[in-house]
């Protein structure tokens, strides 16, 4: 049986004897440089073949969302898992919202600021706790498409005058 398997590293076209008029099989076999090159090429090909299945398995192996015991923010190492850092941030943002609602009169800039803080909190939960930062973008689309559609519908209802 003829071995039709193509070496992925062997991308040289055609017969070397035809491509290179100076090439002769006898000269090539005798050359130490060619022997060294051929040996190196075989070693490299074996290494690639061994590494490829391992890499493919690694892609699906083990915990996909595992987080370490520390969080790095702008080069600064915080000795807490990212989940805890996000939780503390959520707490601070909630306190900020409460302070804004209780101290300042409602209206003006307070409403958009509170809404922004709320959306930031929601985004933090979705991004870090629901793992959209590492999961497929398709998951994000399944969330975004209905949200956008409802926002459009609500915006439309808001601009329609009462009575219609």
């Amino acid at each position: 049986m003829a071995d039709t398997k193509q070496n992925p590293l062997d991308d040289r076209p055609g017969d070397p004897a035809v491509d290179n008029p100076l090439h002769t099989p006898e000269a090539a076999d005798a050359s130490p440089a060619v022997e060294t090159f051929a040996a190196a090429r075989e070693t490299l090909a074996e290494a690639v073949e061994e590494a490829a299945p391992a890499a493919a398995e690694d892609k699906h192996a083990g915990p996909t969302h595992y987080v370490g015991s520390t969080t790095v923010i702008r080069g600064r190492v915080i000795p807490l898992p990212v989940y805890t850092v996000v939780f503390i941030t959520l707490g601070i943002l909630t306190l900020f919202e409460l302070a804004l609602a209780e101290v300042f009169p409602r209206g003006g800039l307070t409403i958009p600021i509170m809404l922004l803080a709320s959306l930031t909190k929601a985004a933090l939960v979705v991004w870090f706790y629901m793992h959209l930062n590492s999961d497929s973008r398709v998951f994000a689309l399944t969330l975004l498409i209905p949200v956008l559609m409802v926002l459009l519908a609500t915006g439309f209802l808001l601009i329609v005058p009462i009575g219609y």
Binding site: P63, T84, F87, T94, E97, R106, L115, S136, M149, T154
Partner: protein, 216 residues
């Protein structure tokens, strides 16, 4: 003449005689959960949109409600509830982290805490509803109350959310039971992840409702 042999590759896992990998099954399960959550997004969005429209067209009624809940327990009770739900989400991901590390006992502890915090949330919401009913904020029509039209807009999203928390608590207890039976491990925790998606979604909905209904 050279001999040529053709090897037919199986096209599907069934033809190959094996099941999809654990990672592929986990991804499928998560995608199904995200599709379910998308339907929940539509339902909650309609309820929230209904509230927002009422809020825009009747600002005086909402202002009166906000004045009314300034008295104890009012906004503070709801704020405690908000922190409880945020803490439960944190407990949920910490539980997931424990099972990823292979610590089953840690998973049981954190998810049990999640269930406990969710239960306290529901109990406090019942207390809040009782207080509001005394102030005349009811679900049914009451011509003597200024909140007649407000009641439905308020209770529909918050009570529907409360129902989701109850479902989440039951699901958390189921996860705890499964964990105690040894059904999860460092290589098999898709069930925990899927529950986490649901629970965090419930948390996200409350984050929005808290600001829209009680603060803005």
């Amino acid at each position: 003449m050279s001999e040529v042999t053709v090897h037919q590759q199986p096209h599907t896992p069934a033809q190959a005689g094996h099941h999809p990998s654990a990672a592929a099954r986990s991804d499928n399960l998560k995608f199904g959960t995200w599709l379910y959550l998308a339907s929940e997004v539509v339902i909650f969005s309609v309820l929230i949109a209904m509230y927002v429209l009422f809020r825009v067209h009747n600002p005086e009624v909402v202002a009166q409600f906000h004045e009314g809940i300034r008295e104890w327990p009012g906004i503070w009770l709801v704020s405690i509830n908000t922190f409880l739900l945020l803490s439960s989400s944190w407990a949920m991901v910490m539980g997931l982290r424990q099972i990823q590390l292979g610590n089953r006992a840690g998973l049981v502890r954190w998810i049990a805490l999640t269930a406990l915090l969710g239960t306290i949330f529901v109990v406090l919401q019942y207390v809040e509803y009782s207080e509001l009913a005394h102030k005349g904020i009811t679900l049914y029509y009451n011509q003597d109350s200024t909140y007649t039209d407000y009641g439905m807009r308020f209770y529909a999203p918050t009570a529907f959310h409360g129902f989701h928390v109850i479902v989440g608590v039951i699901w958390a207890l189921y996860v705890v039971m499964n964990a105690r039976r040894g059904n999860y491990s460092a290589d098999n925790y898709a069930g925990v992840e899927v529950f986490g998606l649901y629970w965090h979604f419930v948390d996200v909905v409350w984050i929005i409702l808290f600001t829209l209904i009680y603060l803005v």
